[in-house]
């Protein structure tokens, strides 16, 4: 299976004459631009289509105006913050001059700002779980076990975070994240190892590993479990992590879950993802196996090694996501969190919509992060739309996005064929 329908990663292939780019730059340029435009256009079309169908569902089932619903979700996600364009001015450094500035930089208390902080927190997680799916995709593997890898990472993070009281904060956070990363990598590595050695299909093994992680987590923090809260023996929850393990808050009120520094990890992960895939031998091998395992084997690349490594690196991304959620805002894990969390699964839609590129993953993580936050019980105005219903609307839109991503490859193929026919 090669689900990695990623055209932007292919070298520009629109040179039927074979004369080379220097002889016909304009054609190559035009083709490249067209291809790139399609690469942007297709996900946008996919999203629009998914929202249209989702709106239709809203209209048919509840009779509510989909536009009002979407606007409420938009505001719940805090995206309206960007449009709170007032007469804000900021002082230029080293001068008395003041200039107009679109955002109110001092505004950290408004509802929109608080909502946006939530959105960015979720986006951080989704970037990482999205990369967990995307990296494996580039190797031709479908890692739908991001959820399990995320859970394993968060379990280790909460254990380390709640132990070692009084440790140096920097060391404590580093230790928790490193261990969670390795745990996620190991969890996914099981599936990678099985794929590489006995050929077990990674879809089934990662799904099974998801459920194993869920039940192990429920056991650990459940009543009488080994990691259950020391003080409250009747609540199925872990110990709180200690102050030294909490990530510093970057923007907003620490008591209201302000945006934490975990977002830098997400940004760094995006850069690492791009660099590893496009600038290292490892990435070359991974992509070669993803394009054509037989061809890669013929070229002397070990397919098995790359299967294992790609899964392990994927799991590492998901493990970081789990650690950052725990250290950044959750601070504890309840069995309910483990059983109902969806962010690992959502990484699949994020990666597919982002077409497995770093920029694409970031943008689609922002989209889904906004949807998740905008439809949460805390942020969505229940007068406009029932939040429990709205979260399922998010899941529905997610499904539609994945469905249409499956179809957009054929749309691209069709567009391309149309163009070659016209130009011929």
């Amino acid at each position: 299976m090669s689900a990695a329908g990623d055209d932007s990663a292919l070298p520009p292939s629109g040179d039927p004459s074979g004369l080379g780019p220097e002889l016909q730059p304009s054609l190559i340029d035009r083709y490249g631009w067209a291809q790139r435009a399609e690469g942007i256009l297709a996900p946008i079309l996919t999203t629009v289509l998914a929202f249209l169908v989702g709106g239709l569902v809203v209209l048919v089932t509840t009779g509510k105006n989909p536009v009002t619903t979407y606007r409420a979700i938009f505001e719940g996600a805090g995206l309206s913050w960007f449009f709170e364009v007032g007469n804000n001015e900021i002082g230029l450094p080293f001068s008395d001059a003041k200039v107009w500035f679109p955002w109110n930089v001092n505004d950290i208390d408004s509802l929109a700002a608080v909502n946006l902080q939530q959105t960015l927190i979720v986006t951080t997680t989704l970037v990482l779980t999205g990369l967990a799916v995307a990296f494996a995709f580039r190797c031709g593997l479908f890692n739908i076990g991001g959820q399990g890898q995320y859970i394993v990472g968060s379990i280790w993070a909460v254990w380390i975070g709640s132990s070692f009281d009084g440790m140096n904060p920097f060391l404590h956070i580093t230790l928790a994240i490193v261990v969670a990363t390795l745990a996620g990598a190991a969890w996914a590595g099981i599936a990678g190892f099985l794929k590489a050695t006995v050929g077990a299909h990674e879809v089934i093994s990662t799904i099974m590993l998801n459920w194993i992680a869920i039940w192990v987590g429920s056991f650990l923090f459940g009543l009488g479990g080994p990691l259950q809260n020391d003080a409250q023996s009747s609540v199925p929850i872990s110990n709180d992590i200690v102050e030294s393990a909490k990530l510093p808050i970057l923007w907003g009120d620490p008591l209201l879950q302000g945006l934490h520094t975990g977002i830098f990890f997400a940004i760094a992960a995006l850069v690492v993802y791009w660099a590893v895939l496009n600038r290292t031998t490892l990435g070359y091998g991974v992509r070669a196996v993803g394009f054509n395992p037989e061809g890669a084997r013929y070229g002397g690349i070990s397919v098995r090694r790359n299967y294992f490594l790609a899964m392990a690196i994927s799991g590492a991304f998901a493990g970081i996501a789990g650690a950052i959620d725990v250290l950044g805002w959750e601070f504890r894990l309840a069995t309910g969190d483990i059983q109902t969390s969806q962010l690992g699964f959502m990484g699949i839609a994020v990666a597919l919509l982002g077409r497995n590129t770093a920029v694409g993953v970031f943008l689609s993580a922002l989209l889904f992060g906004s949807l998740v936050t905008g439809t949460s019980t805390r942020n969505l105005d229940p007068e406009v739309f029932q939040p429990e219903l709205a979260f399922n609307l998010t899941l529905l839109i997610q499904g539609l996005v994945v469905l249409f991503v499956g179809a957009d490859l054929i749309v691209l193929w069709f567009l391309r064929r149309l163009r070659t026919r016209v130009s011929a």
């Binding site: 479908f142 050929g199 590993l209």
Partner: protein, 399 residues
């Protein structure tokens, strides 16, 4: 003994397999003798039997039947493991956990939804379309089954609605897989996501946070009073109608798949669609029918779950069963009896997990992971040696 018997067995048709089956049986006996009613309090006899099973397995495996040899080895290892664990436990607890008639009846109950989905998956995969969406189709069946039964006040109309909903989801998958030539894993995943979103949405929309009402008509049990109160009567005396349908479906599917022209056509489309097309079989038609049927069967399994088994619905209640069914299909080498045997195995592990909390209340949650662990081991143990239909997962393009 093995050094004489095995070379002879190797020359008989299926001889090695028979030896392997003997090994598997010996492994099971090794476990059985340490459990009630025999309850041997020593693990030594089990160890001896288990070693014989493993040796037979190794002997068979090195003579070429690696798959069945592997089964015999696994049977020996598991047999000894279970026997050893049993000797560590007290007799009283063993007797309250291992009540064979109740365990086997529960096994059938847990295996039934898997069997429906697994047999459904067989039609789809044998025709050449990978069906990762079984999970979602089951979920559609579970929700629309209970909704139909509630709104139409009839269990069989509910079952019908559920089956049709699963068929509709499968039809979408078919369009994507066949006409749009989409990646079948991606479109199957989309079906799963869509099913979670759609059923969750409608569930909240229709039933709110209180959940489904308790007075919904459910699929009836079949009372077989003439079986009495004995061992057989306890297992088969009061099973749900859907369990009996599943039991009938297994040989029926085998007959359709391997003894009728329809089955031949389905298999041809999965093995060599071009050849099938050349002799006048409509590859697209067969695949559409097979995929839609697979969704309907999976949905029947889902409907059994909601209106035959637990009589309620909650969000994402299929809990990975569609994937376990898929693993059972692979474990059973894409054959009805093999898949059914795997479903029984996974069903048994669920039944056991349900009774194990007797030992430790806090670890009871951990036992819930048992079916998934077993599935993972099964997938890891045999998958490399089972052979999928040649053209599975590849879209067919007409020329």
């Amino acid at each position: 003994m093995t050094s004489v018997a095995l070379p002879v067995a190797a020359r008989m048709p299926h001889g090695l397999r028979r030896v392997a089956w003997i090994g598997i049986a010996i492994g099971i006996v090794a476990a059985w003798m340490a459990l009630p009613p025999l309850t041997l309090r020593s693990w030594v006899p089990s160890l001896v039997l288990a070693l014989i099973a493993v040796m037979l397995g190794i002997g068979v495996a090195i003579r070429g039947e690696r798959r069945f040899g592997g089964f015999a080895i696994a049977s020996g290892l598991f047999g000894f493991g279970i026997a050893f664990a049993a000797t560590l436990s007290s007799v009283g607890k063993l007797e309250s956990v291992v009540v064979w008639s109740a365990l086997l009846a529960a096994m059938l109950r847990f295996a039934t939804p898997l069997a429906f989905a697994s047999l459904g998956g067989m039609f789809s995969e044998r025709s050449g379309v990978v069906n990762i969406g079984l999970e979602g189709m089951m979920l559609m069946g579970a929700f629309f089954g209970i909704m139909g039964a509630d709104k139409l006040d009839s269990w069989w109309l509910g079952l019908l609605v559920g089956v049709l909903a699963g068929g509709a989801a499968a039809f979408v998958h078919a369009v994507w897989a066949i006409h749009l030539q989409a990646d079948q894993i991606v479109s199957g995943t989309a079906i799963n996501f869509l099913a979670v979103g759609l059923t969750g949405y409608l569930f909240i929309d229709i039933y709110g946070t209180e959940g489904t009402p308790t007075d919904i008509p459910s699929i009836p049990d079949v009372h077989l009073g003439f079986l009495g109160d004995g061992f057989v009567g306890d297992i088969f005396g009061q099973l749900n109608l859907m369990i009996w349908i599943a039991i009938i479906l297994v040989p029926l599917t085998w007959a359709i798949m391997f003894k009728t022209p329809i089955g031949l056509r389905i298999r041809a489309c999965g093995e060599h669609p071009r050849a099938a097309d050349t002799v006048g079989i409509s590859v697209y038609g067969v695949r559409y029918a097979a995929v839609t049927l697979s969704g309907m069967l999976a949905a029947a399994g889902g409907a059994y779950l909601s209106i035959g088994f637990v009589n309620s619905f909650n969000e994402n209640m299929t809990a990975g069963r569609g994937f376990i069914a898929l693993a059972a299909l692979i474990f059973g080498n894409w054959r009805p009896f093999g898949a059914a045997a795997a479903c029984l195995l996974f069903g048994f592990s669920s039944a056991l997990a349900q009774r194990l909390p007797e030992y430790s209340q806090s670890a009871s949650v951990l036992f819930q992971a048992l079916p998934y662990v077993l599935t993972l081991i099964a997938v890891a143990g045999v998958i490399g040696r089972s052979i999928p239909p040649a053209a599975v997962g590849r879209p067919y393009r007409k020329q």
